[in-house]
Symmetry: C2
Subunit: 258 residues, 2 copies
Amino acid sequence: MTIDPPAVKSVSEKTHTKAALPPPETNRLLCELPPDVKLRINPHLELVELKLGQVIGEAGCKMRYVYFPVDSIISLLYVMENGASAEIAVVGNDGMVGVALFMGGESTTSRAVVQSAGYAYKLFGQRLKDEFNRHGALLYLLLRYSQVLLTQMAQTAVCNRHHSIEQQLCRWLLLSIDRLPNDHLLMTQELIANMLGVRREGVTDAAGKLQRQGIINYSRGHIEVVNRKLLEATCCECYNVVKHESERLMPPGHCGKF
Amino acid sequence: MTIDPPAVKSVSEKTHTKAALPPPETNRLLCELPPDVKLRINPHLELVELKLGQVIGEAGCKMRYVYFPVDSIISLLYVMENGASAEIAVVGNDGMVGVALFMGGESTTSRAVVQSAGYAYKLFGQRLKDEFNRHGALLYLLLRYSQVLLTQMAQTAVCNRHHSIEQQLCRWLLLSIDRLPNDHLLMTQELIANMLGVRREGVTDAAGKLQRQGIINYSRGHIEVVNRKLLEATCCECYNVVKHESERLMPPGHCGKF
DNA sequence: TGTCATATGTGCGTTACCGCACATAGTGAT
DNA sequence: ATCACTATGTGCGGTAACGCACATATGACA
């Protein structure tokens, strides 16, 4: 029952033995690529382990690699001058980290932090750009994904403005477990507070309410969603808006259909 | 001295007589295009007048046209189920409205509203897509602009989370006058409140403070920035972050240099 | 000039969240 | 078993923004 940071590693290793590495297709973007693109890209993909809290992209620094999460989750976090922070968007096996590379900026104003340990496929930035500049399926796929990101950011802005900590916590939990294999996540309330840009005590309050309603169970860095339906009902509209828009923009089986 | 909605029209007409239409180059994006692209695009650009409050793109509805503002300002506004709203980003002659067209989504979850009346060049969506699909300078220019939008949205999210109404009002004023020919804007506190997603009284308070500090002058729908330096000093970091990132991503004279 | 709609000012109690201080409880290391 | 560390619980005063009600001022227009 006990899962601590080192244990996470062993769990991951157990899941992904040499005999059963998660294929690149575990990532939605890599999956949707047509065969010819895969042939060019896949040989250069490198499966890497990402540890909780690891920074894979710093604000203002040129990104050398892009990452396609398979079972890890990456937070795009904005850190202000005074140290306060806020999550801008979250990326799991539905997306990639490093859109600034093909957008032309090479860097962004936000930091990419591992929010849930796991694996990701890493690709050298120039390789991505080369394929992007062939102006084929990859370009159109990444463009659509960029719009998903845009939508998520916009919704985050709105949610920050109008919704309570409890509602935002619900949204955050839903976004997280959607990107995880089960309804169990490793995350302290302190870290969640950093993501949401609120006080730790505020998260304690909100989480307490959810626990008392039988929506979640948590203790010392573990959170389990036990009643997803109720969680969705308690959440603000923001989660559903983002989810539906993502599904609209990136329907499954889109590869080669651009 | 009196400028009301009808007067705005006459002012605009005075400025842009048949003899002196603002050229497409008044818009930064159109300006940066290399000659061959201009040759293909410009014949299809249509100068249109945009009235205050006009909706040129509705959430969830396919956009038929894209707009390149010349002296108008467009707000990307998210309207929630309960009617509350918040501005996600603002577009002036530095950008365009309708990125969803080339991103592939055809529509977004936000509404595009005219925040400041004026003119814009309108282009049929398919024309833009056609040029985009030539995979030339336009593609790379619009990608960079998309990153500017992304940055602006991210910063809006953070600003909503951490900064006071007064600071946000400063940011909003600066973003606005940067896109206007002078330091004078037509905007009631009620409308500003809608943009910022706060109460009208909150804007009254904040505006009152700024006025008492000699930073702005306002009365019945007119706001004039009289001390920009002080305004910037009173503002949060958000304005400068977005401004610098925009300048980095879209330096002048970039055309043909992709 | 008077009238009216609209924009702005102001006061009040309420709420959500903050910042801080400190108490309590799991958990790993020894 | 003990200790130290970290995560979580809780209380308290302070503050920013809210919702509401209503007062006042300004400019447009008859």
